[in-house]
């Protein structure tokens, strides 16, 4: 120790080791004690598991399942408990970062209200039952129900879980797999598929100099938020691109925009066409589209569009000129555009803008597709929910399976899912939490949390390389009567198929499947099969090569429909999504309930956003309760008044209003999804989430709106100082 400077703490530690070290060992040791140094003296009273080193955190790679973006994780495990997750730096999706939902994954795992044992409906209530009895009952039902009467409702699902669901359904002869996600971008995907031939193109935010986002909250709730936030950081560095956000209610992305525009809801497509027309009219970019398209655009001159959208003509011209000045550009469309009855056309208009600007192949590249088609993500959407609801209405299903999906909560009342559930004689919920659907089911099968379970994930949005992420358990299951999703799937498969008898559990299946993948996929992995598997678990992700076919734009003439006036229900309802509670699946996580909404800063409840002019007319202020009524129902919630919303819009966030789902979620706030009208997007059949018209009335109730922050402005105190982008480029633009 002669060459090492011993400080006071080090000295005391050495003293502690020499003297009382042996006596200390059974206590909770500080992390800093080195076992290697004092091994001989240390004799633990309790011999821990082989991989447990008391006081030392060990990191294991896994995958986040809080949303379906598929971020890679590193989980810190100490004394056999998972304590915290961090992003996996090897993951190309999140590059070592996480969002708040990812951080809160541990609370999903340790949630005090998990379902801990199988339950079966006996009379009105659910009674505990053993797994053996549950599975016996279930296999009896599977055997006795004809395949076409069996349906599976899931969320987005990918990897081997997706394979097992399809295998199970084909083993019983069913084709009824409904993947339902309330927060999705399936209209945009359809537009991409139709207009550029790739449903999930890779978006190069980092290359763009200007992004015009029509309602795509890519920093918050769109496709792969953490990935896009990372790309956004690149976009904002160096030459610093400019972000224009067009949406009726300010989202997290809108809050970061250089220019935030509230067009009349439903007219965003017309705005895109107006911008496109202006660009073509000036002759800035005409070579990219045929004459017919141009002719169709001529109807959208600036003044007409300004009248239609409520966006001043000068603004439209400005956007158009920015578009042409600042190539490369990128235009994207998100939920508020997709969620209209004319969503497909509007999103097509946005894509047309990209085609005109020559962005295809530049800022919009062909997306990477996982070579194994069966493992690719089956992205959830709301079209499937509509189909499922219709099937239920038509009494098409007898045996229903729900996994990772809570349609009783997320489906609008107008779809009558809850009422019609009784049309199916036996409903099975594979779930981790006692959600509304589980409580309505006849058999509840408790699953491992994602931190106890195995899995593989192939994210729908693939960044620069094809990648697959492994989900491995970060600790032993908390409850002995829970089972892994894959394990349950294997048992279900074994009811009618013998092909899976060789796999005792999902782990063996997954391992076999992974190490037997084609060479092209496991290019990064070398060595024997066991070594490959170990490497895979160590890395957590498998980044194979990239496949980049060329995209061919197929521009077409588009006519963007407008939104008619509705005198009975004059306002538009925006059931806004938020990074945090998501579609309501995270309402049972206290950290996320206590994390303020990024824009309104409200916690632990619901609120309705109103523009000051609307609130003034209505005579309400922060905290007053209003009634938001649509043709399909009404909700009452508190008002938050701010300017980041179109005056003709009332925005109520999704996520609250659970009637079950544990102590943190139950009976808290309202669920705006419930009062949505059953309007479908005309071309894709998706549920038009943003097309519901409502009226807003004042009630006499008023309470303090529980939110973070006193003053809404800085009062000129220079907390956040702002400089011009020109200055930024002068000083830091070289990078």
């Amino acid at each position: 120790m002669n060459d090492i400077k011993v400080n006071r703490r080090g000295f005391l530690k050495a003293l502690g080791w020499g003297g009382a070290g042996t006596a200390l060992t059974a206590c909770d040791l500080p992390t800093t004690i080195t076992l290697e140094e004092g091994k001989e003296e240390v004799v633990a009273y309790v011999v821990p598991e082989e991989y447990v080193i008391p006081g030392i955190g060990v990191w294991y790679a896994s995958t986040c399942t809080q949303c379906d973006a598929g971020c890679g994780l590193h989980g810190r495990v100490r004394e056999g408990r998972i304590l915290k997750v961090e992003g996996n730096p090897d993951s190309l999706i999140n590059n070592g970062s996480t969002c708040l939902m990812g951080q809160a994954g541990v609370q999903n795992h340790y949630n005090p209200d998990r379902v801990t044992q199988p339950m079966m409906r006996k009379g009105a209530g659910l009674q505990p039952i053993s797994w053996d009895d549950a599975m016996a009952e279930l296999s009896k039902r599977i055997k006795s129900t004809s395949g076409s009467k069996i349906a599976w409702v899931s969320g987005s699902v990918s990897g081997h879980q997706s394979v097992l669901i399809s295998e199970f359904l084909s083993s019983v002869g069913s084709k009824n797999h409904f993947a339902h996600e309330t927060i999705n971008s399936s209209v945009w995907s359809q537009v991409c598929a139709d207009m550029i031939g790739d449903a999930e193109p890779r978006l190069r935010l980092d290359k763009a100099q200007i992004i015009v986002s029509f309602g795509a909250d890519f920093l918050g709730t769109w496709k792969s938020p953490v990935h896009f936030a990372g790309e956004y950081a690149k976009f904002r560095s160096g030459q610093r691109g400019m972000l224009v956000q067009v949406e009726p209610k300010m989202t997290l992305t809108g809050g970061n925009a250089d220019l935030w525009i509230a067009a009349n809801p439903g007219t965003e497509g017309a705005l895109a066409l107006g911008v496109a027309n202006f660009i073509l009219d000036r002759g800035w970019n005409k070579e990219n589209v045929p004459g017919t398209v141009k002719q169709a655009l001529a109807a959208y001159d600036v003044d007409t569009v300004a009248g239609l959208t409520g966006v001043p003509a000068t603004k439209i011209q400005r956007i158009a000129s920015l578009f042409s000045e600042r190539a490369p550009s990128l235009a994207i469309a998100g939920a508020t555009v997709e969620g209209q009855a004319n969503g497909y056309d509007a999103a097509s208009a946005v894509m047309l803008l990209n085609i005109i600007m020559g962005n295809i192949g530049n800022t919009i590249e062909a997306g990477n597709k996982f070579p194994e088609r069966a493992l690719r993500a089956k992205s959830g959407n709301t079209g499937d929910l509509v189909k499922f609801a219709q099937g239920l209405e038509d009494k098409k299903f007898d045996l229903l399976f729900f996994s990772n999906s809570n349609p009783v909560y997320t489906a609008p009342d107008a779809l009558r899912v809850k009422e019609n559930l009784s049309n199916a004689s036996f409903k099975v919920a594979l779930t981790q939490h006692p959600d509304e659907t589980a409580l309505a089911a006849d058999l509840v099968l408790p699953l491992y949390s994602s931190m106890e379970d195995w899995g593989s994930h192939v994210p729908a949005y693939q960044p620069e390389k094809v990648s697959l992420s492994i989900q491995q358990p970060l600790m032993e299951p908390l409850y002995k009567d829970t089972r892994g999703f894959g394990d349950v799937m294997l048992s279900l498969l074994k009811v009618k198929s013998n092909a899976y008898n060789k796999f005792p559990d999902y782990y063996s299946y997954l391992k076999t499947a992974m190490v037997n993948m084609p060479e092209s996929v496991r290019s990064g992995l070398k060595g024997s099969r066991d070594q490959m598997w170990t490497n895979l678990l160590q890395n957590g992700v498998l980044n194979a090569g990239s496949n980049t076919p060329k995209l061919t734009p197929k521009p077409r003439a588009i006519k963007a429909a407008t939104v008619s006036k509705n005198s009975e229900y004059p306002m538009h309802l925006v059931p806004s999504a938020r990074l945090g509670l998501w579609d309501g699946r995270h309402a049972n996580i206290p950290w996320l309930q206590e994390a303020p909404d990024q824009i309104s800063k409200v916690v632990w409840g619901s609120w309705a956003e109103l523009h000051p002019s609307t609130a003034g007319k209505l005579g309400v202020q922060n905290g007053d309760f209003i009634r938001v009524s649509s043709a399909s129902g009404s909700i009452e919630t508190q008002v938050y008044v701010h300017k980041g919303i179109h005056p003709n819009v009332v925005a109520v966030p999704m996520g609250q209003g659970h009637s079950a789902y544990g102590r943190y979620a139950k009976d808290r706030g309202v669920n705006p999804l419930k009062i949505l009208d059953a309007v479908s997007e005309e071309k894709t059949g998706e549920l038009a989430l943003y097309a519901t018209r409502v009226k807003v009335t004042k009630t006499n109730k008023s309470e303090v709106l529980v939110k973070m922050g006193g003053s809404e402005t800085q009062l000129g105190r220079g907390f956040v100082r702002t400089v011009s982008a020109d200055q930024f480029r002068r000083t830091e633009g070289e990078a």
Partner: protein
């Protein structure tokens, strides 16, 4: 501080603002937070909850203003008269600034908060008697008091299994605040010592910096000239020590600033100004 000392070093004592703290620092942990990159997503705040055993207070106590978010993302609207906030919102992650001349330190009657040779404002929970003067004297208002025994409600079984054993769970009557994840600093230092090497930049970062999806937060040691944070501070010509108008930046267009610098508290967090297009 003998009279002789005062007389001999009078010029040191009569400077316009106190330098404060230790003068033989081992490290000076600091941050650079780029508000051009910060999107206000709250990942840092939740990561802080996970790392530092922050209590969940629930709706009623949040309403009273008794939340324990060591790191909060403040959101401000622009003071414009327009119909819409066309330039979006302003977000700023606000946590303990680990001031070099911290106002919280001299007022604590029992010296429960003091300056470490690492340049941190340490809070000794066991010593704290809860006079709350430190919080009253904090211009940033980033000190949080355990008004209740939050642990009784915050982590019902088995949520308590998530608690980080590297630091304590605080009981009522104790002040707490951002520590720059001192437990990570401790672990990294010990690891470095065990491996018989110097602590290196990016050996570890704080939980917030690690979670940040846009890497807006850079953490490191400003005494290490090669650390990322040192480079950032140098690049933006922000220096430690009290604020003085005598040393204008060579390039006034650089974005670095420290919040409330004019109060002479010498914060350890440099913010980089938010950027917005002017012509839109």
């Amino acid at each position: 501080m003998s009279l002789k000392n005062i007389l001999e070093n009078f010029s040191d004592f009569r400077r316009d603002a106190e330098v404060g703290g230790h003068h033989d620092y081992e490290h000076r942990w600091a941050m650079s937070i780029d508000l051009n990159l910060c999107i206000g997503c709250n990942a840092c705040s939740t990561a802080c909850y996970a790392e530092n055993n922050l209590g969940i207070v629930g709706k009623e106590k949040f309403e009273k203003g008794q939340a324990m978010h060591w790191l909060r993302v403040e959101r401000y609207w622009d003071e414009t008269d327009g119909e819409f906030p066309e330039q979006g919102a302003s977000f700023v992650p606000m946590m303990c600034q680990q001031c070099g001349a911290a106002t919280c330190e001299p007022v604590c009657p029992v010296a429960a908060t003091y300056h470490t040779p690492d340049g941190l404002n340490a809070q000794v929970y066991n010593r704290c008697i809860g006079s709350r003067y430190c919080s009253n004297n904090c211009p940033f208002r980033v000190r949080y008091f355990n008004f209740w025994s939050y642990y009784e409600q915050s982590w019902p079984e088995p949520l308590n299994q998530q608690l980080n054993p590297d630091l304590s769970v605080r009981d009522k009557g104790v002040m707490e605040k951002c520590t720059f994840c001192v437990q990570r600093i401790r672990t990294a230092k010990d690891t470095a010592q065990r491996e018989k090497r110097q602590l290196q930049d990016q050996d570890f970062v704080t939980a917030c910096a690690q979670a940040c999806p846009t890497n807006a937060i850079t953490f490191g040691d400003t005494l290490d000239p090669n650390s990322k944070v040192s480079k950032a501070w140098r690049k933006h010509q922000v220096e430690r020590g009290p604020y003085t108008h005598k040393k204008p930046k060579e390039n006034a267009e650089l974005r670095g600033y420290r919040v409330f610098e004019e109060l002479n508290v010498d914060p350890s967090i440099m913010y980089l100004e938010r950027v917005r297009e002017t012509e839109v």
